[in-house]
Symmetry: C2
Subunit: 281 residues, 2 copies
DNA sequence: CTGTATATCTCGCCT
DNA sequence: AGGCGAGGTATACAG
């Protein structure tokens, strides 16, 4: 297909999309006039949409520090929380930025489009000489970001560095089988008390306490000094209540810190060595 | 003007721009098919253009740490140096990134467009379910970024914190007039030797050494122990050579550090106090 | 090249 | 609200 036709078709397509999209908080212009930009920016800001501008600008910043940069083609993004980032064509870090909640103004005077952002005594001024592309859109992103580590990784981290549970804790085995099932980590505290640890990578709930209680209760008959610890990033209020009633304990332990322990200690300590270490204990 | 007409005109405009722009390394699609995206991404990468993709994606990262995030609408930017940043609709920091020089691949399989980036054992996988907007463009930005401080600020910083020149330096006046003109900062070192400082905010060149030498030479007749120091962020090789021959000295001093001194010490030390301090000496 | 100090650090957690 | 510590810190600079 010749380029001409391809673009003609694409343009028709684009036209139709524009009609639908502009209802739903989307707008886009290529090589717009600065007046048009000014209009679009205002619309984006009032819509609390994400605004993207690509064009030739110079930037002045004054606040905790001061910076200045002359003309160059850059990408400016104003997010829906009014944070601002400006990126040059290279490098991972923005050349200038402004945190969430800043007050953004836009002014078109002469041949310059000025976008100003104010936040707690800090001023970021961006002056566009020309704009290649401007667009805003409503973006939805409700997903939760997680530094990833499995419960298995958390157990591994405890075996690698038992002090993350408490000073002097010594693991004996992992996943010991008991009459009530199996437990995650089994060991002794610094006073020689038996310790049973249940690991959860998410918030510990009532059911987790109940599960741990079942293990511990089965063993308390023969060993009254036994301790039960639930290791998790957090614990629900009702689970905490039950925890106290059942004389169990909670230790804060996040997948993230475990992931770090594995990464850092894992350099010297291979899995083989780890298993050997576990066997020794 | 009714919306319909406005967009029709805009679309025509867009169409014409596309024809010119696509020659010069620019392409843009709204709501493209993933196949089309794949094509555009390949073109962007081979052109070493800046690529912007807005769409619904999930992201996996594995390297120094691991992270995972489910579906959400985000902005992905691949810069011309193959650095990657992915921004969520809010917040100043990217949710995931990859440094410059990473190897980027793109694969369209099923209903998913996968963009992978590899760098020194770190893998970033982005899976797009749909794309709202894709565009690439060649951006030119040769401007130099500077943490801003004038030569005046640098002199002020020396007066505020003379130790940045050397331990025990005590400024007496700034801009002392001599028979050869005026000098930037004039003072005494810890041994009581007279010191003349010439401040430059950029690399010190031969001509700067010559200028300083003229001042110093004029005073060496009456005061052989006089020292001449050029304070600048750096010095050119030929200037350095001349510096040694003329028995002058160089002290590294950047506008940035001066800017910091003024910011930090300026909190306690107002301009009035500063002037008073300068008068005292 | 490696290690260290810096940052408009940002961000989250804690008091 | 203020202080503290971590970060996939990134980045500049010294050794």
């Amino acid at each position: 297909m010749p380029k001409f036709t391809r673009y003609a078709l694409m343009t028709l397509d684009f036209y139709l999309i524009m009609l639908t999209k502009c209802m739903g908080g989307f707008k886009l212009e290529v090589n717009p006039s600065l007046d048009k930009c000014s209009e679009i920016i205002r619309e984006a800001l009032s819509n609390r949409a994400v605004l993207i501008i690509v064009g030739n600008c110079s930037i002045d910043y004054n606040g905790r520090a001061s910076s200045k940069i002359g003309s160059g083609e850059r990408i400016l993004i104003v997010k829906s929380d009014n944070s601002v980032i400006i990126h040059r064509p290279g490098g991972i870090k923005p050349v200038n930025w402004q945190p969430s909640g800043s007050i953004i103004k836009c002014e078109h005077s002469g041949n310059i489009l000025k976008i100003s952002s104010y936040f707690k005594g800090e001023v970021l001024n961006v002056a566009f000489k020309n704009v290649i592309l401007i667009s805003f859109m409503k973006l939805e992103d409700k997903a939760e970001f997680s530094m990833y580590a499995t419960e298995e990784d958390m157990k591994k981290a405890i075996l690698m560095n038992p002090n993350i549970i408490e000073e002097g804790f010594i693991p004996i085995t992992d996943e010991k089988h008991t009459s009530s099932g199996f437990i995650d980590v089994y060991g002794k505290d610094s006073r020689g008390n038996t310790v049973i640890i249940e690991v959860k990578k998410d918030v510990a709930l009532k059911k987790d306490i109940i599960q741990l209680y079942r293990y511990v209760e089965g063993m308390r008959k023969n060993n009254p000094s036994i301790r039960g610890i639930i290791a998790s990033p957090s614990i629900s209020p009702s689970a905490k209540h039950l925890l106290i009633k059942t004389n169990l304990e909670h230790v804060k332990l996040t997948p993230k810190i475990c992931s770090k322990i594995i990464r850092e200690e894992g350099r010297e300590l291979t899995l083989d060595k780890l298993n050997a270490k576990a066997m020794d204990n």
